[in-house]
Amino acid sequence: MILLIILMLPLAGFLVLGGGFRSIPKRVGAVIGTNTILGAFLLSIALFYFHQHLSPSMHQPKGSFVFSLFEWIQAGNLRIPFEFIVDPLTLLMLLVVTGVGYLIHLYSVGYMNDDPGFNRFFAYMNLFVFFMLLLVTAGSFPIMFIGWEGVGLCSYLLIGFWFRNQEYNNAAKKAFIMNRIGDLGFLVGMFLIYTTFGSLSFLPVFAKAGAMPAGTPVLTAITLLLFVGAVGKSAQIPLYTWLPDAMAGPTPVSALIHAATMVTAGVYMVARSGALYALAPFTLTVIAVTGIATALFAAVIALFQNDIKKILAYSTISQLGYMFAALGAGGFTGAVFHLTTHAFFKALLFLGAGSVIHAMGGEQDIRRMGGLRKKMPITAFTFLAGTLALAGLPPLSGFFSKDEILLALFGRSPLMWGFAAAGALLSALYMFRMLFLAFFGRFRGTDEQDHHLHESPGVMTFPLVILALAAVAGGLLNLPGWTGTEGKLAGFLDPVFSVFTSSSVTHHLSPSTEWILMGVTLAAIVAMIAIAWRRYGRGEEEPATEVTPGALRRLAEEKFRIDELYDRVVIRLLLWLSRFLHDTIDRRGIDRAVNGAGAAVVRAGNTFRFIQTGNVGFYMFIMILGILAILVTNILL
């Protein structure tokens, strides 16, 4: 009931703002746009308490509520009702999406203030929140798919928000199509689920799956297909190239969609379907490997980028890789924990970047920034908080969440831990590089930009501060065992995950091992920060010579030319195929045959008409021949 209102609020916001976007004045639009999300957030909190205090008898087993609205699609044995699930995982996602979403909306009031498409922006943002909420509250795969594709649509609309620029439109289109490629995997996975389990709703499917032995080929196939969907949505290798391009959209969009919520949909989906994944160890390995590979790969690229948003984009890809790695290692709670903390600090970082870009009058190249902390203290300080969190320094949230992931990985395989840890080091390096180049040292931009520099208005700094607090204190959500307090988040999510994690997918390490690993990584990270400080913190220009050889650096700078590879292999091939099919097969092949039939008839007619010579004698001759022929055949047959 409350849930429906939560969902309907942003939808209503979209409809109102969308319908009257020309006529509604900005202030009203801002109020509507932001307060729908605020309302949703407050209601989510209410739902949270409601859920906690409800007597156990009213829950279905494992503390989850399922209710359905009406039959959506029905044909034969296939029944897809509009159903929703409310359990701890949902509640967590609800709070994150609406909470962080609200702050970003608030920020956008300031950021998009000068934009003529103000109302349209909030309309799209509200629609996005609606679909995202639908995604996380869905009680069955198809309903989740509605939200899944819906957020893809909104992503398209928002990336291409400034639609007069065809480059931005290309980026939006690329995002949507890559998402769609993943969506096909999701769809096929759904089909397989239906033919295997006879239902598409979560609880029945998970229950039936629990009865199957681990490693069943069908389960592996299903989970792999669903993971393909996640790869597309959450920008893992090989479907990640859309995310850096997606930075073409306004920065709040990047914060909301491409850092905190949409891209985490893949992680959520895997976590939600944990019952299936826990029984498919092969897929889990694939997920872990993909995650780690992505994490490392993206981190390397991030190190060589100079656009502030691109660095953050690759960082997001990298962090998502960590989340998937955690999932692959069986650390479901860790993955979700990192999802939450990442939402906090990544949104914070993006919004901070937005403030910087705003203040710099549109400049995004960090090489032309510097010393910004003097003119933008709040932004700088919150940005520092976010950076520290991402790098994984205690006692910030990122430390706890990342550490949990690393520990889970180590339990799975020390090699994996090694790669992941390397990625973590790189994360620290590139983040602090960015921080130092942008906020420390002396200013390297134009004088005009220097004059323009100012701190952002309150409506923009307030969310930054809140998010910074969250980024700092978020660790409290799930402190590890050695601090003496039980991980609250783990306990909260336990009803959801314990169903399948009891099948010993998680590994437990001895406390001493934990301490050693933590210590080692911590020391290395501090070392990285020190290196970054030495190289970039003094405010010098980027040194001309680098440690890595020139060719490799150039390759990394150009993102390893993956985009170009895709263009060559996929896009050009497709265009060629289109032309080939059309011109050669259709025009010259099939159409020739069809037109040829007609032409043949005409030609035959042209030949046969010469029988009509007009000569009566000739006609009589033919007539007599004909009669003779009939007589002869009559006699013969």
Partner: protein, 482 residues
């Protein structure tokens, strides 16, 4: 009774309008008539759903010695298609009044005649009458395309006419053969034809004849080459009529006449038919990507979509069949909407070439929004009508063959590719010389889209109402195949 009224009313009105001299009166009369027709159809729908599921049969003898009777009725599937026809015809007529130059009364008369013929096809329960109305629909189509079409219209319309006519003759031959084989006394009545005793070899030939006839109409690869030219040359109303409704005759014919009459042959030849249909999906989608003419692009996309619908018919399970039915309706709506948007674009800029267009969204946000809605329905975004059909079709296909479904699923990706690219190049970006003075849609013009937009969302969010209507008859059809 209602059924007969549905057929005769537009027919009579068509004759009246044909002889009207006054253009405005003709136009108003046609529009009013189409709306009345819609009212009758909705009444039939309400009665069907809420009162009784009777088939609204009405029959009269015609040549009882020959076994030809005038038997009409609407079962679930027929009702849905009749609804589609009666909803789209007013939209088409209203849009025709916006086309370049005033249309003479004959035009409106022809559209109404076509409506009558189409309703006749969907409601005939007698084989020969089915054929009569099938051919009857071709006549106004010919005139509309040949008289008011674009470049090279005579040649292209002729090709379209001869091609489909050849197919129809094959169908006639098949119908007559089955008639001869019905239990004595011979009859064209559908129940008699279903009961005809056909040997497997006979079934194969009958199936082949039927299949070619319907395949040309739909069109299914490789019988499709008439379609892009015809859709591109036809006037906007013509394209909407052809693509929106007329091609559904082919699918309907398959479901109503082909499947129950030659079930063994269907089962035998399904792999081939499915192969052709699925090939058409990929083929059409890939070619659509590179098209420059807007109408041609939509035509090729239509080939892809109806390929999926046809594949669903041959998957022989309830999900796929229901998917086909609902997707027929959805496709009709979406493609009419697309052609409508293209009509406005061509009207205002004088060109259909994507290369010469761009930046329309800036000046015409209403058109941009409505066009986008139709595009989204076309690419099957969940909560639009296209998704319901596509999901059912794909899942039904999957139950038949995972490979077929996986290949057909590529349409999910490709449709996004060509549609979004087309939208981006025509609507987004900066204005170009051709679109500098693009006026946005007036409220009257935008209102043409409203019934379509409503249906896109209605069928997308609450398809149960429509699926319920056809489900029992779909199950019946499948029973014949046991």
């Amino acid at each position: 009774m209602l059924t007969i009224l549905l057929i005769l009313f537009p027919l009579a009105l068509s004759l009246i309008i044909f002889f009207t001299k006054e253009k405005r009166a003709a136009r108003a009369g046609a529009l009013a008539g189409a709306l009345v027709e819609l009212g009758i159809a909705v009444t039939a729908f309400i009665r069907f759903r809420y009162v009784c599921r009777c088939e609204l049969l009405a029959s009269a003898d015609w040549f009882s010695e020959m076994g030809i009777s005038l038997k009409f009725g609407m079962d679930g599937i027929g009702l849905l298609l009749v609804l589609l026809t009666t909803v789209l015809t007013p939209v088409i007529l209203f849009s025709a009044s916006r086309e370049k130059g005033e249309r003479p009364p004959a035009f409106y008369a022809l559209v109404l005649l076509m409506e009558s013929a189409l309703v006749g096809v969907f409601t005939s329960f007698d084989g020969l009458i089915f054929y009569v109305f099938w051919e009857l629909a071709l006549i106004p189509a010919w005139f509309i395309c040949a008289l008011w079409g674009g470049d090279d219209r005579i040649r292209i319309t002729f090709k379209f006419f001869l091609y489909t006519f050849t197919g129809s003759l094959l169908m006639l031959a098949a119908l007559v053969w089955v008639y001869v084989r019905t239990p004595a006394p011979h009859s064209f009545d559908f129940q008699w034809m279903y009961a005809a005793a056909l040997s497997p070899r006979e079934q194969a030939w009958v199936f082949a004849a039927f299949f070619v006839a319907f395949a040309v109409k739909i069109p299914v690869f490789p019988f499709h080459t008439w379609q892009p030219d015809t859709y591109a040359t036809a006037p906007p109303s013509g394209s909407m009529l052809l693509a929106g409704i007329m091609l559904k005759m082919g699918v309907f014919g398959m479901i109503r006449w082909m499947l129950p009459i030659c079930p063994d042959a269907v089962r035998l030849f399904t792999p081939w038919a499915m192969g052709l249909a699925v090939t058409g999906i990929v083929y059409g989608s890939v070619i659509a990507i590179r098209q420059d003419d807007l109408k041609r692009l939509i035509a090729w996309s239509s080939i892809a979509h109806v390929g999926l619908i046809t594949a669903g018919v041959f998957a022989l399970n309830i999900q796929a069949l229901q998917g086909s039915v609902i997707q027929m309706v959805s496709h009709g709506i979406n493609i009419t909407g697309l052609f409508l948007a293209v009509m406005f674009i061509e009207h205002r800029t004088g060109t259909r070439s994507i290369a010469q267009l761009g930046g329309i969204a800036r000046q015409a946000p209403r058109l941009a929004f409505l066009f986008m809605l139709m595009v989204l329905g076309s690419i099957a975004l969940p909560l639009t009508n296209g998704f319901v059909g596509e999901f059912l079709l794909l899942i039904g296909l999957w139950e038949y063959s995972t490979v077929a479904a996986a290949v057909a699923g590529l349409t999910v990706i490709f449709s996004a590719v060509y549609m979004l690219w087309m939208y981006q190049r025509t609507m987004l970006g900066d204005a170009v010389p051709a679109t500098e003075n693009f006026a946005d849609l007036s409220w009257r013009e935008a209102s043409l889209f409203i019934p379509l937009a409503v249906l896109v969302l209605w069928i997308g969010v609450a398809p149960g109402m429509f699926l319920d209507i056809s489900v029992q008859d779909a199950v019946q059809v499948l029973n014949y195949l046991k």
